[in-house]
């Protein structure tokens, strides 16, 4: 099969067919791209403009600075939210299985809750929950 190819390739090499196919694949992909480039280069005039080249494309003009600092109190607020979010996840199965739980399990849950309540009191005293 390789011997019938019109291109002179070393017939002995077992990968010769793959090389030829690879080259054909690249040319096949490059031709439409080259045609599009040539068309744009010679026939289609480029019409750049201030708005066309603008970064944002939602229709509104960008205003202000992107380099703003987020208030650190938001970070604390998010952390506190995350903790009580996790607490809710634990509380739900606790409530569902409440009647069948042993005393030890109830105590463990109580310790967990008290720890979080202590954290909440601490955060409250630090003034995290009030937006100054």
């Amino acid at each position: 099969m390789v011997k019938n190819l019109p291109i002179a390739v070393p017939v002995e090499h077992p990968w010769a067919t793959i090389v030829v196919l690879l080259a054909a694949a690249i040319v096949f992909g490059a031709i439409p791209l080259a045609m599009a480039w040539l068309w744009a280069r010679f026939f289609s005039p480029a019409k750049p403009g201030l708005q066309k080249n603008a970064t944002y494309e939602c229709g509104l003009e960008a205003k202000g600075d992107a380099w703003i600092q987020l208030d650190v109190s938001y970070y604390l607020y998010a952390i506190v939210f995350l903790i009580f979010d996790v607490e809710a996840v634990f509380l739900l199965p606790f409530a569902a299985a409440f009647s069948g739980l042993s005393l030890a399990a109830c105590l463990a849950m109580l310790v967990f809750l008290l720890l979080l309540v202590e954290g909440l009191i601490w955060a409250c005293q630090k003034g995290v929950l009030s937006w100054g």
């Binding site: 026939f43 005039p45 066309k52 494309e57 229709g59």
Partner: protein
């Protein structure tokens, strides 16, 4: 090539074409609209793209969320004066060639809200509209008809010569001035280069 000769040749199984025809054939069957709707007409536009009316048959199912990738702007609904600058800016950001369909009574003239203080009396005051669709709202069939009308327009556009398509003329602008909020509405009230008030035209 002569149209009669082409018809005659095709009867004998020989199909002839020109580069222009081939190019426009590809163009008209891959018109990608911009994803945005302004009011109730947008619901009809969405229905047109869905399975029942299936705009994909015309190669226009790919609604692009970015103006950089869109060819067609379907102004579907009431254009308020608050929204008009954004619509014009989005049109300016679309690459050439670009087309506009004004869908529904509001988009072409202000429609039932024409006398409202905040309603633009037709988007053709600021950007060139290729196809107008009357109706309140127009049915999906009407949008499809407008789309086929646009396809006809694209297929007859010339690539060379004096009568070549607008986007191929280097001296014609691609951007149109965006109106700004003034004391009594938008300023300027219209782009005088593309909009000619029919009442004033009638009066001479």
């Amino acid at each position: 090539m002569d149209q009669d000769l082409k018809t005659e040749l095709s009867k004998h199984g020989i199909f002839a074409t020109t580069f222009e025809e081939l190019y426009n054939w590809g163009r008209k069957n891959s018109v990608w609209p911009l994803t945005f709707g302004l009011a109730c007409c947008a619901i009809e536009m969405i229905a047109t793209t869905m399975a029942r009316y299936d705009l994909a048959r015309f190669g226009a199912e790919v609604f692009r969320p970015s103006p950089r990738q869109a060819d067609l702007m379907i102004v579907s609904g009431t254009v308020t004066k608050k929204m008009a600058p954004q619509v014009v800016r989005l049109y300016n950001q679309m690459p050439e060639p670009k087309y506009v369909i004004a869908m529904g009574a509001c988009a072409i003239s202000g429609g039932p809200f024409r006398d409202g203080y905040n309603v633009l009396k037709g988007i053709d005051r600021y950007i060139p509209v290729d196809v107008h669709i009357p109706g309140c709202p127009p049915r999906p069939e009407a949008l499809i008809h407008a789309f086929m009308t646009l396809q006809e327009k694209i297929s007859t556009q010339h690539l060379t010569g004096e009568a070549r398509a607008r986007h191929l003329k280097a001296e014609l602008p691609s951007e149109f001035p965006v109106p700004e909020f003034g004391e009594h509405g938008l300023e300027p009230a219209q782009n005088d280069e593309i909009f000619h008030n029919p009442l004033k035209v009638l009066q001479g």
